[in-house]
Amino acid sequence: MSPVVLFDAALALGVLGCAALALTLRDRTGTVAAFMLTGLLVALSWLRLGAPDVALAEAAIGAGLTGALFLRGARRLGPLRARPPAPAQAAAAALGAAVLSAALLWAFATAPAESLYPPRVAAALEDSGVSNPVTAVLLNFRAWDTLLEIAVLVVALLLVMTLSPPRVIPDKLGALVQPFARIVVPVAVLVAGHLLWQGAEAPGGAFQAGAVLAGAGLALVLGGVRVDRRVLRRALTALALAGLAVFTLAALASQAVTGALLGYPDGQAKAWIIAIEGALTLSIAATLCLLFTGYGRRSAR
């Protein structure tokens, strides 16, 4: 049993344990804390599975922002209101879930898993404009998936706008939060820029940079910056919508130039990708920030 296998086993057990905690604790904030911990441990396991880009995104979005959303929800939804299920139903559900996960484990463990993608990605990496294979897949080979994914973000924002849930106006958090924000925000902007730029060669990219910027935004909101001033909210909304607009127009422009939708003119692929990623970073940050702060007129604690 080499030490790394031990580490993997411990990490897996940690993930499962925290997830069980998150789903079974009766106290709301306890479940959210356990959920954030699960997210961090899962980010570590992504590293061990050789997916650093995903680890960054998981830590920033999966654990960070989703945790913040759950905290906001936990405060508003009040104590847990669910009668425990009948024992028979719980047992049946447990049995069913166990059988399904066992079948899944058998299927995934014995699957041959000869993916067709690595050789093709390696071959096409040269003229994809970037050397980080994940960014190449995300923004060149399967750019259509990414465009639709940004559309998902925009539609989620539209939905939240339509619902206009009560807005987050945090109560006075004391004197220390302002200086904290003053330190964290510039560093976050710096890190985000670095992540965006190095995304072409090494793990990083629009989503991770956007998530870090959104984190900075959240810090500002919690620091008491009033986002509800109409001008700032409209600007953020415009920024949030701009990302998808830029990407779609770039796609159509690329077809006008090269005849293939999302087919970047050869040689300029890197320039197009960086431009698109820049717009995406800002738009994702704005969208995630707005998704957290909500849109409604009535302010609620």
Binding site: A107, T110, E149, V155
Partner: protein, 476 residues
Amino acid sequence: MVTETSLLVTLPFLAALAAAAAPRAAATLGMAATLANAGFAALLARALLADGARETSLGGWEAPLGITLRADGLAALMIGMTALVGSAVALQAMGRPAPGRPAPAGGFWPLWLATLGAMNALFLSDDLFNLYVTFEILGLSAVGLTALTGSRRALRAAFDYLSAGLAGSLLLLLGVALAYAEAGRVDLAAVPALVETMRGRIALALVLAGLAVKAALFPLHFWMPAAHANAAPPASALLSALVVKTALYVALRLSLEGGAGIAPARAALAVAGSGAMLWGAWNALRAERLKLLVAHSTVAQIGLIALALGVAGNPADSTLWQAAALLMLSHALAKAAMFLAAGRIAEELGHDRISGLNRTELRPGAAEFAFAIAAVSLIGLPPTAGFVGKWVLIEGLIAREAWIWVALVMTGTVLSAAYLSRVVSRCLRGGPHVAPGARRPAWHMGDVAALGLAVGALALGLASALPFALLETTLT
């Protein structure tokens, strides 16, 4: 040169963004984009009829690395259906003030255009993971449409709808993950390889289970009636007629790709379909509210289409699955007309209790007439397209001696006649105090949309040679 396929998938999203950015101009922008989309859909259909199906690989990367947009007969038919029903529903939405209070930037138009874009992308997609992402966009925007009215029941239904939709999508994603692990690729060309091994069949079963949740097929349909009944009329028309169809379309696409190997999944689909038909009819017979009845009739009709897909899905006998596709198209037109008409009736009467339909003096004649024609098409009586679809289906089934399924299709027809005549007979019943020459309420844009769709269902019955010709160009 920018082709129709790329405009079909990008224009709606751009229009949605514009509508969200400029709420006041949303209606005109939305209507213009919907009509433009209809024009492109027609262009695509004409191009397909002229020189057959075509596949455009995005970014120039060949499958399986890149994603290809497959524009063939079946996709063009579905896009045409979406454009047609969408334009009528958009017309209805233009006519009445935006449902619910005008949200700052949200509202009907951006959500509808996002739905339109997502559906076009879904119908053209040739990649399972891409389908997962388009289903997510569709789920979110459909939930937005459901929650537009902001009433307590609509919000509750919207939450259940979104959580069920997410669960369905995650099942789909699990299927994609297993398909990747098994066949090493995730585009539809992997399905023939998946069909051979046990693991591949589990993957496809997971994908179909996810689709069953999204199509509200019988055992997994609990979230749907409340969502469709409580949404605003244009929204419920879109949900029932179009959004629920996308999952059935993907199921048909999978069964065409899978060929004979996917027979057990098809049998399960047929059994679930017949269960849905009976369950939906049973609930529709007991429903008190008009919109709930129409929503339950959607469950039943989806059951019938699933049964048709299950029994007629294999690509060998082409007329059979084309009949199932025609049933989908005719159901879309008729159901949209019925929901719009039901919405108009509920608006005029102030309530939509079935028992009270005939008590008031002024009843929207045009809306009732549209409801009646839509009912005729749903039951499948001539001369509507529903009848042509059922006739070709029954003829094919009899040729294959599948007598149980013929009996089931017949019972479905009888049941739908039973619960729909509950409503139509009340529209004809004279109110106790209908003064002679009582002024009918004036015509409303909603009536025009409902009647247009209903007459469309009739006209489609006569002109169903066109859909069949279009379906011939499908790549199987």
